[in-house]
Amino acid sequence: MVELSDEQEAFRQSVRTWLDENFPPRLKGKGAELLGYGEYTGPLQDDASLWQQRLGGKGWGTPTWPSQYGGGGLDHIQTKILHEEMNRIGAFNPIIVLAGMGVTMVGPTILEYGTEDQKIRHLPPMCRGEIRWCLGYSEPNAGSDLASLATKAEDQGDSWVVNGQKVWTSGADISQWCGALVRTDSKAKKRNGISFLMLKMDQPGIETRPIKLIAGASPFCETFFTDARADKTDMLGNLNDGWSVGKRLLQHERASQTGVRNTGGGKSEALQDMAKRYVGADAEGRLDDADLRLRLANHLMDAQAHGLTISRIAAEARGNVEVSASASILKNSATHVAQTQSELTLELMGHSGLGWEGEGFNDAELATVRNWLSGKAMSIYGGSFEVQNNIISKNILGLPENTQKG
């Protein structure tokens, strides 16, 4: 509904032309298939690396980042146009996946807190999808209560020496860098005395161990630091100010989790069509299970309300949605919609939605079961449902903290 200027229309034309010339047509709609945990697989490998190089070279994997650091230098309307055009032809952005936590979280935080040297060193390879980042936040005894973390970094002149253990470091086993919250002053109170360190993963002091999840294999690891080292220059933000840096990064995380899962270029079957296929319909085309139909309608309305809220917040912010007070609302809403979608998909599949592996179930059915299980993490990671509600009630609504027994 937004009227585009002539200049913007011209930009759209140039994007179209560029995509025509550069996006390998064989990759059309293959985003989900090619991007497993970020490793290219399958017969289309060459096309895929070519596309990565071209998109990264143009800076369009990170379209809004400044071009001097390898980004696309686009404004938000241009970015929207780019995404629309990519969607139109079934193109996808591999950079965001290849960079792990880089493009979505670490990068934006470096842009805000990093020194010029840090920006020049870390951002361009991120933009090209060459360097994958993981995050060292949670610890076994510091889940939602992140401030009680215990992993320690000691100042040893030219470097920091790190000891401790992190959990839920997504992709730690395949990442080149890790952004970690570490305690640099053990005398200070919880939130003080924490710093944000950037560590090279390829060093003897770091060991990773993948975590098997309820859905099976997972990108998550336990990560052990035993006299691991970081350069003195690899601290992001000020000493003992890591809490602010880390919190800001989490806001980027929330913002990146506010959309409902997009399979990347491919259009999947609408839930209501799938329901009719499994359940059947009556003569008037109504789903043959009035009970499920009602809950399906409720879900689709919730999903549309969520989508409209993203659009509205974007419009209100005149394009800049990356970090906003609404991130907590959208995070919980995205989670609710995605988890309900999984539950309803399983329900409509009935017995066919119980498969784990082997014969008797098709791939989509097996994937649904795994997605359902892994999707339970959405309300836990990136600030749990409860933590988001705390944020809303305290930061947005201004309700006080409990100070007494009760």
Binding site: M301, S393, I396, P400, N402, G406
Partner: protein
């Protein structure tokens, strides 16, 4: 709020200031206590006319300002906040929409300026039983020598007591349940054969049951096409739904504000009750529901303004989500306020009663859930 134009922002500020100062809930209470039959105060209504609200969706050539439905929604949200009672929705939104969508040039010229200057109050009479069921219209309009003769009953007509002109959905052929055979008429409310039973409802607003006994009208009273009125009726209703949803959002938003204020000031067990995490989380959940409902409400209004193909779907979404939030919110308003919320001296009950009344108007949540599914073909 959506990204507003300067004009919209101005209108919103004006509406907010006027409602707060000139038409707060205390005014509604006074109206209720006075027992005024039509369910609104004349001076309130006149002030709205004077501010130009009755012309918001009316083109300039008929005396309006042609600012569109989103702008109308902005005003309705404000009146909804303080339960400001008036025929604004029934006449200037639903009535004017009917003329804009189905009126001949002559009809528009005859009625729209009077809608704008408040000299006519229009309303749509659609339901015939206890439920909103526009697909089973049975009120009969029989062809006569010079026109039609209407016989039947319309129930729970919004502002049915005060209306001077009725827009009536009738059956001119086929039988109840048929998609074809619906014709919409526009006729003066004092036409011979019309009798009204004004209702006293829980929300103290203006409604009436209206009986038609051989009411004679000419062919020039038809809005839209003979026998082809079902689509027109749907479009009129959808505009009413979108407008009502905006009003409901306002009502719920005010209830939320009252609750939040209470959470911050009421002390129990040595602290303000908003410090209790269970209540804090409930407030967070309500706030999230409000943000989501707002998006739907604004999208429906913008969808009408932009004539997007998914208008109908957005209108059902909007009415349903606003209804769900208002229902939840009005109940929490009472629950959080506890005993004081149960007293008539406090305003919470007004919000609860109003929430129940608007829920069924132009279709309840179940109606719109079903319609939403139908529109998505399942």
């Amino acid at each position: 709020m959506a990204a507003l134009t300067e004009e919209q922002t101005m209108i919103k500020d004006q509406a907010q200031a006027w409602v707060t100062e000139q038409a707060p809930v205390a005014k509604f209470r006074a109206m209720r206590d006075s027992g005024v039959e039509q369910g609104f105060q004349v001076e309130t209504w006149q002030a709205m006319v004077d501010m130009g609200w009755t012309g918001i969706i009316v083109p300039e050539q008929y005396g309006g300002s042609d600012l569109g439905y989103l702008t109308f929604g902005i005003v309705l949200e404000e009146t909804g906040k303080h339960l400001t009672a008036s025929p604004l929705l029934a006449s200037a939104l639903v009535g004017a929409s009917a003329l804009l969508l189905g009126g001949t040039e002559a009809q528009k010229q005859a009625w729209l300026p009077k809608v704008v200057d408040g000299s006519e109050i229009l309303t749509l009479a659609v339901d015939e039983g206890p439920r909103h069921a526009p697909n089973v219209i049975a009120l009969r309009a029989e062809k006569t020598a010079d026109g039609f003769s209407l016989t039947g009953r319309k129930t729970m007509v919004l502002e049915g007591g005060a209306a001077t002109t009725l827009i009536v959905a009738t059956r001119t052929s086929g039988s109840a349940g048929d998609a074809g055979g619906i014709t919409v008429f526009l006729l003066p409310a004092d036409t011979a054969g019309i009798s009204r039973q004004v209702l006293k409802t829980a929300d103290s607003r203006g409604y009436a049951n209206i009986d038609f006994e051989g009411v004679i009208v000419g062919e020039d009273a038809i809005l839209g096409e003979l026998d082809q009125g079902a689509g027109l009726l749907t479009d009129i209703l959808d505009r009413g739904r979108a407008g009502l949803a905006a009003e409901m959002l306002g009502t719920a938003a005010q209830a939320f504000a009252m609750n939040l204020d209470y959470l911050k000031t009421r002390v129990q067990f040595g602290q303000v009750i908003g410090a209790f995490q269970a209540l804090g989380h409930r407030a967070a959940i309500l706030f999230s529901e409000m943000e989501l409902a707002r998006s739907c409400v604004e999208a429906a209004l913008q969808g009408i303004d932009g004539e997007v193909p998914s208008q109908a779907q957005l209108c059902s979404l909007s009415k349903c989500q606003a209804g769900a939030f208002l229902h939840h919110m009005s109940n929490e308003l009472i629950q959080i306020h506890g005993g004081i919320g149960m007293t008539d001296d406090f305003d919470a009950g007004f919000y609860l009663k109003r929430a129940r009344a608007v829920e069924g108007a132009y279709g309840n949540q179940a109606f719109h859930r079903n319609r939403y599914a139908q529109l998505l073909n399942f």
